[in-house]
């Protein structure tokens, strides 16, 4: 026996070790990972094809076989589950969403409880009326029952209280199952999405994704622009930086259609190669310039505006720095490309009857795009339109260039011009309706000729136009800059407003009304201090407050308005007669005369001034002399105290000379500031928290509460406590019964 085993083992030495299939022995909550062995695929598994092959011979089952095979084709194996970490996260987030939704049910109750002025605990809904336990139900007995009772005594009513086997009813179970299913579905959807997105390798997809992202960003930016310009600027900066970086990396990199066409030819033609190289050089130059520009804030702004509004990478106006030479070199290539293309297409165009609707569509599409651009850059609307014009202008220049070099080119003269003009028609948004009409009515050749004529006129003075547009552009830029500055200044104010507006938005589920303040709310630390030998030590808080109160020095000196009034009045030479004053003056003069007569001897004004001066002098806190006779000198009879020592500065505590008074600049007015010192400490110094005006606060205090001043019923109502509890009663937490039950 043992030998046999040994031999077997020895024979098995060469073979691969195969683990046996795991078999469960004992039910456990935790499954050990060591028991999970990858089963050998294909060896022991039963394949469906094998089974169906068996059916091949039986003609009866052909249909079954077919069906199974078709199933096998259609049905794919389930995807591999997500990583556990990721799956868990999805699971948690969906569950949390569900819980928050569930918790929202309590909003109404909580808000009403918070807002209510009087609450009695335990809450009324908490009453524990367990139905059927304390009350016996009385029933009218039927005749049969009565007769039966007569026969064999009163029958005991047996109420069978069946303890339900299941804690939930069928419906509840179903509902719960439904909910679980719903949650699972949401979860699986999310998981599937995550899986899908993770897998995608397509560059295009990611590009689209990115574009969508930027679009969203721009949309966000627009929203911000209205509400919070400062934030919006920041956002714009960010968007721009990303865009600029991307653009800088792409422009003139020979990735466009034109460049690709060139590349094909570059094998055989050195000029093509040169052109491509030139383009690359331009790109390098451009990117360098871009970096330099970022250091200058002003030019940066310019860049920003230009880049926001222009999406065409080939547009020479994207960069202000571009010289006309560059433009020309660029255009040359572009124009050639178009020539060649058109020459290539010529045959086709002649052969195939042009579909009328196609150019029409093109026009509309272009128009759509431009509209999108406009909506994307609301703020820079002003700059936008000239740029668009320039865009078209760009195309015009191509045509003009073409004219200049037309002689050199051997291709037919009509076709290229024709094509450029159609191009023009496509791009030009202004004569849209006209264009549409013409295209719809007739062949493009004939009508377009007219348009191209106008082009030529414009093209003659291209330089003038260029200057005009560039000026226009600059002007617009300046305007934008100014507007940005203005919005920057306005930003903090708007920010506050926006926050105010934002608040209710965040608590969109917040059901609470704006509570009108009835009583002041004090939310401040207790005034805590230590008792030291019966004496109260001053609190640190009050000390800190004292330190904080900083009294600014008075700038103005005492100015008596009477002195100022005494200045000589200057007569204004007017033609208007002051008729009204005449009578008054006469009366006044009479009165004044009487007064003057009465007090001829004493000068009232002078005496009042003197009185005020005396009052001020008397109320002025005096310097304190701490000099004690006998200290630091000999005392006793016959010793003369030196006056000098008495006036020593060391002993005198000087009071600040500039002492503010309330009646300081008020002329003939004396305010006694000491009269209400005792009342002062009982008075409120500033408006307490929830109140905004003194009037509101005073209104809250004005009405009396006591039953000496108001009727008893009102008194009872007003003194109702905010929270009332019952003595010796347990207050249980809230239950779900308090929520109103809704159907479904």
């Amino acid at each position: 026996m043992a030998e046999g085993k040994l031999i077997k083992n020895v024979l098995n030495l060469n073979k691969k070790i195969t683990y046996p299939k795991p078999s469960r022995t004992e039910p456990r909550t935790e499954v050990s990972e060591f028991n999970l062995v990858k089963s050998e695929k294909g060896k022991s598994n039963v394949r469906v094809t094998d089974l169906t092959n068996a059916l091949k011979k039986v003609s009866k089952q052909a249909k079954v076989r077919q069906r199974i095979q078709s199933f096998e084709k259609k049905v794919k194996p389930l995807p591999k589950p997500l990583e556990k970490v990721k799956a868990d996260r999805i699971h948690r987030s969906t569950a949390f969403g569900k819980v928050t939704k569930h918790l929202d049910r309590w909003n109404a109750v909580v808000t009403s409880n918070r807002a209510s002025n009087h609450l009695t605990f335990p809450l009324q809904d908490d009453l524990n009326l367990e139905s059927g336990k304390n009350f016996t139900t009385f029933r009218i007995k039927s005749d049969l029952q009565k007769r039966l009772e007569a026969c064999d005594g009163p029958s005991e009513e047996v109420t069978l209280e069946k303890e339900s086997k299941y804690p939930l009813t069928m419906q509840e179970m179903l509902e719960r199952r439904k909910e679980m299913m719903k949650m699972k579905i949401i979860e699986s959807q999310k998981a599937a999405k995550a899986r899908r997105q993770k897998k995608i390798k397509s560059k295009k997809y990611h590009r689209i994704q990115r574009r969508e992202k930027t679009k969203n960003q721009i949309k966000e930016f627009e929203g911000l622009q209205q509400s919070n310009p400062e934030e919006a600027l920041k956002k714009l900066d960010e968007i721009e930086r990303v865009r600029v970086e991307e653009r800088a990396s792409l422009r003139h990199r020979n990735t466009g259609k034109w460049a690709k066409n060139k590349q094909i030819k570059a094998k055989y033609d050195s000029t093509n190669r040169q052109e491509l190289a030139q383009q690359l050089a331009i790109s390098r130059e451009l990117t360098q310039k871009m970096n330099m520009d970022e250091s200058h804030s002003e030019s940066e702004e310019e860049n920003r505006t230009s880049e926001v509004s222009v999406n065409n990478p080939n547009n020479p106006w994207v960069n202000q720095i571009k010289t006309s030479e560059e433009v020309e070199t660029f255009l040359k290539g572009y124009r050639k490309f178009w020539e060649e293309r058109n020459s290539g297409n010529e045959a086709k165009v002649s052969e195939v009857s042009t579909d009328i609707s196609v150019p029409n569509e093109v026009v509309i599409n272009e128009n759509d795009i431009t509209e999108e651009n406009i909506s994307n850059t609301v703020k820079y609307k002003d700059t936008l339109s000239p740029i668009h014009k320039k865009k078209t202008q760009d195309e015009e220049t191509t045509s003009s260039d073409f004219k200049e070099t037309r002689k050199k080119i051997s291709t037919s003269k009509k076709r290229p011009r024709d094509s450029t003009s159609t191009l023009k028609a496509e791009n030009d948004t202004i004569p849209l309706s006209k264009c549409e009409n013409t295209v719809c009515l007739a062949t493009s050749h004939w009508e377009v000729g007219i348009l191209s004529d106008t082009d030529e006129d414009e093209c003659d003075d291209i330089d003038v136009l260029f200057e005009k547009y560039s000026d226009n552009f600059k002007k617009n830029l300046d305007e934008v800059k100014q507007s940005v500055k203005v919005t920057k200044k306005r930003a903090p104010k708007q920010k506050k407003e926006q926050q105010k507006a934002k608040k209710p938005k965040r608590n969109s589920e917040d059901l609470s009304f704006k509570i009108q303040a009835k009583r002041p709310i004090i939310d401040e630390p207790l005034d805590e201090n230590v008792e030291v030998n019966g004496k109260r030590e001053e609190t640190g808080l009050s000390l800190a407050l004292q330190q904080d109160t900083y009294q600014p020095t008075r700038a103005t000196k005492n100015i008596d308005p009477n002195d100022i009034i005494r200045t000589k009045p200057t007569d204004l030479q007017t033609e208007l007669p002051d008729l009204l004053d005449l009578d008054d003056n006469e009366e006044n003069d009479d009165q004044r005369g009487a007064i003057v007569e009465a007090f001829q001897d004493d000068d009232i004004v002078e005496s009042f001034q003197k009185e005020k001066h005396d009052e001020i002098e008397s109320e002025k806190p005096k310097d304190i002399n701490l000099f004690l006779p006998g200290w630091g000198s000999w005392g006793g009879p016959g010793v003369i105290q030196s006056k000098k020592k008495r006036q020593n500065r060391r002993f005198i505590i000087k009071f600040p000379k500039e002492f503010e008074r309330k009646d300081e600049n008020k002329g003939n007015l004396i305010i006694n500031e000491k009269s209400n010192e005792k009342v002062k400490k009982h008075l409120v110094s500033d408006v307490p928290f929830p109140f905004k005006t003194v009037k509101d606060f005073e209104a809250s205090i004005r009405a009396p509460v006591g039953n000496t001043f108001v009727p008893e019923t009102a008194f009872r109502r007003m003194i109702k406590p905010a929270v009332a509890t019952k003595l010796g009663t347990v207050i249980h937490p809230m239950t779900e019964e308090i929520l109103l039950k809704t159907k479904g």
């Binding site: 996260r89 699971h91 948690r92 987030s93 569950a95 949390f96 569900k98 819980v99 928050t100 569930h102 918790l103 309590w106 909580v110 409880n113 605990f121 679980m180 949650m183 009583r519 709310i521 004090i522 939310d523 630390p525 207790l526 005034d527 805590e528 201090n529 230590v530 008792e531 640190g540 800190a544 400490k681 009982h682 008075l683 409120v684 307490p688 205090i701 004005r702 009396p704 509460v705 006591g706 039953n707 000496t708 001043f709 108001v710 008194f715 009872r716 007003m718 003194i719 109702k720 406590p721 929270v723 509890t725 019952k726 003595l727 010796g728 009663t729 347990v730 207050i731 937490p733 809230m734």
Partner: protein, 445 residues
């Protein structure tokens, strides 16, 4: 000669018997009461002075434990019963109004980590450092020698906290992992784990009974749903939360006592920042408990003081302390909203009034209305400087006073530094961060 005297008919102003309601004719015309506001102000001032005179919150203490109190539990149905566990493994059952110990026995080897009553109050669960969860009958046996647990569960992991479901026979424990137990089973019905950190506190939501929250030692709060989903969300704070309690009247609000001297109230739905930050303690806050009305909560701190906070406010309305009370380990608010119980390091359980100057016992109607009236007046004139000064003045122990000063200087220093940094850096580089946003590090999904 005729002498004029005031004479009235005694029928008008005398009552026939003592119990007769004597109707005083009153004229409420405000013109006849020119000093009404002044009189009410004086009444308010007197009321607030009397309030401070009568503010004697300490009711009594329960002594008998031979080691520090580790945990307290209130009976869900009876107000007079209190359970306490101590560091030497002893459990005591108290009759609070009589200040008597009804029962005492050694339940565990080592510290008793948690006690909780079953919702009916028929039995209670204790758990200790010996990794056991024991069930005890509420009814005492005839002799103390017969003290035996009804059921003992040997847990595979360390257990540090327990919380019972409000109505179902289900309870949850925390420790290395969060476990949900059924009373009749010896194996947990669910175990939840998120991260490797150990949990030191757990509490069931009393209203939304399937919600559960734990505090983890990596400074985080984890929410669970016991129905089917398990862990929901995690909030990581700057310092460790010690204890977490749900508001019994607001299903989505919970408050945690933190190591950074503050308490934070959270809305479960928006965990990014707390709804409110409750400051004032000068040392780590160890425990808290909500009042059954859900309007206030009490907190016990390592700074040897108890503070009472209103849920909507950031500062405490009251501070309790005595010379002999040491570090607080647990606090409770009684279910009738009248008393506060505190257990501390020096083996005593103290009973306090929830409102310091409240008169206990039944009140006669006139007295009650008078008290209510003075309450309203105090509220009305709360902002007047004299009333405010008297109402908010408290004597505190020297160490708290000094600590407050120190904290104040620290805060001022931080503020100053931030302001300086703001002045000397690019605009917007040092943003203004609201206090509420400062304490949450992140919200994990």
């Amino acid at each position: 000669m005729k002498v004029k005297v005031l004479s009235r008919n005694p029928d008008e102003y005398l009552r026939e018997t003592k119990r007769d309601l004597h109707k005083t004719p009153r004229n409420y015309d405000p013109n006849l009461h020119p000093f009404e506001s002044a009189r009410e102000y004086v009444r308010a001032l007197n009321a607030v002075k009397l309030e401070r005179v009568f503010a004697k919150p300490f009711v009594g203490n329960l002594d008998g434990h031979r080691d520090d109190i580790s945990c307290l539990s209130k009976h869900p149905k009876h107000l007079s019963v209190l359970l306490s566990g101590s560091y030497d493994g002893e459990i005591r059952v108290w009759d609070v109004p009589q200040k008597l110990c009804l029962r005492s026995f050694i339940a565990h080897e080592g510290i008793v980590r948690g006690i909780t009553y079953e919702p009916n109050g028929k039995c209670f669960f204790t758990l200790g450092d010996d990794k056991t969860i024991k069930t005890w009958n509420t009814a005492a046996p005839n002799t103390p020698e017969e003290e035996e647990p009804i059921n003992t569960i040997l847990s595979k992991t360390v257990v540090t906290g327990i919380s019972h479901h409000r109505s179902k026979p289900v309870f949850a424990t925390c420790g290395e992992i969060c476990q949900i137990w059924e009373e009749s089973r010896s194996e947990p019905i669910h175990t939840y784990k998120w991260g490797v950190d150990s949990l030191h506190d757990i509490s069931f939501n009393p209203i939304e009974t399937n919600l559960l929250a734990t505090c983890a030692s990596n400074r985080s709060i984890i929410l669970y749903d016991t129905r089917d989903s398990g862990p929901l969300r995690k909030v990581v704070m700057k310092l460790r939360p010690n204890r977490l309690v749900w508001n019994p009247m607001e299903a989505f609000i919970f408050t945690c006592a933190n190591e950074d001297y503050n308490l934070y109230s959270f809305d479960t739905r928006y965990l990014k920042k707390p709804v409110n930050v409750h400051v004032d303690h000068v040392s780590a806050v160890i425990d808290l408990d909500y009042s059954p009305t859900g309007k206030e909560f009490v907190s016990g701190s390592y700074d040897k003081s108890i503070r009472i906070f209103e849920t909507g406010k950031g500062h405490s309305r009251e501070i309790y302390h005595t010379k002999r009370m040491q570090r607080l380990t647990c606090v409770l608010w009684s279910l009738d909203n009248k008393y506060i119980l505190s257990g501390s390091d020096e083996m005593n359980i103290r009973i306090w009034k929830a409102r310091a100057s409240e008169k206990l016992g039944t009140l006669k109607p006139r007295e009650r209305t008078a008290l209510q009236y003075s309450e309203v007046l105090k509220e009305k004139y709360a902002t007047h400087p004299q009333v405010r000064r008297i109402a908010r003045h408290r004597q505190v122990p020297k160490h708290i006073y000094n600590a407050q000063n120190e904290l104040r200087t620290i805060k001022q220093k931080i503020k100053r530094k931030e302001a300086n940094r703001r002045v000397h850096s690019k605009k917007g580089a040092v943003p203004f961060v609201p206090e509420r946003a400062k304490h949450v590090v992140k919200e994990d999904i």
